[in-house]
Symmetry: C2
Subunit: 124 residues, 2 copies
């Protein structure tokens, strides 16, 4: 019955930890953070790097991540405009577990797709 828990309980729907999970649970977040983990990128570079993302969605994702202190958005008063995105320390700390997820995903695609095929053919 602590007042304000330093560590949240993910299983409590009212715990703010959930909102953090919602951030992470966005597929674009994973890709963006992963892309930025190697260094600063501009909007268009991110767009190219993260294949298939629509500009609006990328903007939303970046704004949300900026709001959450995961990355910093730097605007240079130039024409054409120049906007750079880079991870904060917080963002870099997030990049590690995200890399683990990414690693798992890339490493187990085969197994998952196999399970999926097997499941689909058995249910049919």
């Amino acid at each position: 019955m602590e007042g304000l828990p330093l560590r949240g309980d993910l299983f409590d729907p009212d715990c703010p930890t959930r909102v953090v999970l919602d951030r992470i649970g966005d597929k674009w977040t994973v890709l963006v953070v992963s892309a930025l983990s190697t260094g600063t990128l501009r909007f268009t570079e991110l767009r190219a790097r993260v294949g298939g993302v629509a500009p609006k969605v990328l903007t939303q994702t970046l704004r949300a991540l900026e709001r959450d202190g995961i990355l910093i958005r730097t605007i240079y008063a130039q024409v054409p405009p120049r906007v750079e995105y880079q991870l904060t320390d917080l963002g870099r700390s997030l990049a590690q577990p995200i890399a683990a997820i990414q690693d798992w995903a890339e490493g187990h695609v085969g197994a998952v797709l196999a399970a999926r095929n097997s499941y689909d053919s058995s249910v049919a």
Copy 2:
């Protein structure tokens, strides 16, 4: 399929790795896998454990995870019905990176919420 690595490229939108990411990128998946990582659970137990999940959504999540070979669904011909869910080896391997995410989320709620407040008050 064989045990060949078959590493995908997450940044390619046409790579099947993306579908795996979509699975993981579901917030309920994280919670369900995490809940099951400590042992077998029944539907109602899962529902109670994962606070705030609607039955339909839980069913969808569980079916998807079953299809992907992350967990196994065992039905006992009883009345009232008894259905148990447990992680497969694949699921247990996923539980590790997921635990890392969960850990990060629980450990950095404060920082994220602080960043959020700061952002919101500066933008206004």
